[in-house]
Symmetry: C3
Subunit: 260 residues, 3 copies
């Protein structure tokens, strides 16, 4: 990381820039995202806050772990990710601050950063302790948001370093052949990177056989296919329709890839 | 309120800060929140706008009235709340500007500020008149947003003072033993403050008996319990599952509290 | 357009102001809106981004085309609209930059700007080419957002001018007697401007006969009526209830207007 004025990272564009990015299961509804944003705007005034994903599946840490490294690629060095899927909130489950390839991550450490850690070249990790006075059920607002704001202001974390090995869930595979997210259009996002498989591979899910295609418009309306989505993941889709509905597939579906 | 530069309130952190907070039933969908935000950004440039809650139940003023005082506690003095649950929009129902314990509130006066008023130590209140040219159906954009922006710029309201007694709905109880909000996780937020009841109390709802717990992780997976949520309200939950679904309880459910 | 410092438009209020407005079918869920906002904040720092509508019906270009000109009226000259309903993404469908009555528009050109173009007094239009390296499925992030950011910085577009006639779908009527959007309250927004019809007209939809009313509060609770909504469109509503549910009407419903 090239240090700039005030320790802020220098982006490729030649100016200094911070951004706080929310990656949570808090839901769009209700007060949770708003309460986190209020803490961030007050404690890191002027820093843009992007609500990247707030509809991660509650309690499903593994699905989130495979989405995270794919969806951070567009963000500049110095970006700060507040990541929460936290069924263990209020227990003594560990929490961490991670710096991975010049981006920062804050959140509970129950596997959420497992795949990120494996795919990062440079990684540093610190223990995060719960401050007195934090609620027992909303660490996103009371623990992680203040740390994210402090990282935006100071660009460093003064805590007890821990080994990055603690981030990993060794039983989890490098690619997860499972549907990890269903988007608004009914497209089925998976935990497999397109770069890890043969570009001619055939995907079989729920009895449906899908060939690869480059774009939605290169297939017949209503036809099912798989393609490399805009974040590098294998995604199942149906042209101008909902793959979830047409194929009868939901989140969690396991599938097979057969070399073509 | 300690007056700062330009009349802005001085926060506990020693700098001046304003924030406009939306607390509405406008829905996340559709153009309503965006149109309100556009007015605010244009008329109060640079002031952060937080969309705290936009999925309040349409037409249910009472439920919103018990949520409001609980969810404002984290916001600094000087914060401005634009509050709208407004079934009477377009009629001659009154509207008000309220300053309660150094925070500002703008909205229709049909009970929404009733519980807030009872719990505030210092309260001032002004009549808000509908400007000519306002639409008859969208006062959030045409009436309340311009006033909120003006409060952010000028930190005062020059209107006709009215008695704060007009905010109150005298028939409403101080604590409402009813589910007022169901969150994304299926947790059941109630209109009762945890501080108002015995910490050992047993909660009975729809035939289910619930004991208190301090955190989600202190109970067995699948067990129902009640706890003090991160905003001080009694909330029913089921560990790692949806209380709404498991207990068959929806918004509006009335429950009993029995001293343990 | 009165040119200000740096070419920025001078608003009626006498100061310079830009705003980027999102009008899409990307959905509130998932990463799409957040990824677009990240590009905008990085490439046009400090410019407010308003998420006006993100729940346009996927693939329904025509419905969006009748909503667009109604919902831009409150935005200042110089505002930049990023508009995406794009079933043809990844094909060779054309894309455009449009300047219509001092506002900017960026998006795919398959009819989305058809009605806007007809109702604009002054209109300029440029061809937009897909940069190398753009994904084949997410032009909102990779093509349109960078152009919107550049318009915010430079207030002009240096591309190949094309005739505005190319924006039009000549078969589409000037007013569309169809439900084009159902809002959170169950109100039924139509593609007909209230100014285009007799104020006493009777609306007949799905066997229900509706009279005009000025406000929600001027009719009996539970009564169906039509009114001019806050953006000038004919809208069907039921006082304090959901017109969609009560009348059994969904998006796409065609209706008749009878002079009273």
């Amino acid at each position: 990381m090239v240090a700039g004025a005030g320790g802020a990272p220098l982006t490729g564009n030649g100016y200094y820039f911070h951004m706080i990015v929310l990656f949570t299961d808090f839901g769009l509804e209700g007060p949770y995202i708003g309460q986190v944003q209020a803490v961030l705007h007050r404690q890191a005034p002027g820093v843009p806050v992007i609500n990247l994903v707030s509809d991660l599946t509650p309690f499903d840490i593994q699905a989130a772990a495979y989405l995270l490294p794919a969806y951070i690629t567009g963000f500049a060095p110095g970006s700060i990710f507040l990541c929460v899927v936290d069924p263990g909130v209020g227990s003594d489950r560990p929490a961490v601050v991670v710096r991975a390839d010049e981006r920062w991550f804050v959140g509970p450490n129950e596997g959420l950063f497992s795949i990120l850690a494996r795919r990062s070249a440079e990684i540093d990790c610190w223990e995060l302790t719960t401050p007195a006075g934090a609620s027992s059920s909303f660490h996103g607002r009371d623990v992680f948001a203040p740390v994210a704001a402090q990282l935006a202001r100071e660009c460093r974390y003064m805590g007890k370093p821990v080994s990055a090995i603690r981030l990993d869930q060794p039983d989890w595979p490098d690619e997860l052949p499972q549907v990890v997210y269903v988007d608004r259009f009914g497209n089925l996002v998976t935990g497999v990177r397109a770069s890890s498989i043969d570009g001619d591979a055939v995907l079989v899910a729920n009895g449906h056989v899908m060939n690869p295609a480059r774009t939605f418009s290169s297939v017949t309306r209503g036809e099912a296919f798989w393609y490399e989505n805009a974040n590098g993941l294998v995604e199942m889709a149906v042209s101008q329709d909902s793959a979830a509905r047409v194929l009868g597939i939901d989140r969690g579906e396991i599938f097979a890839l057969q070399t073509g």
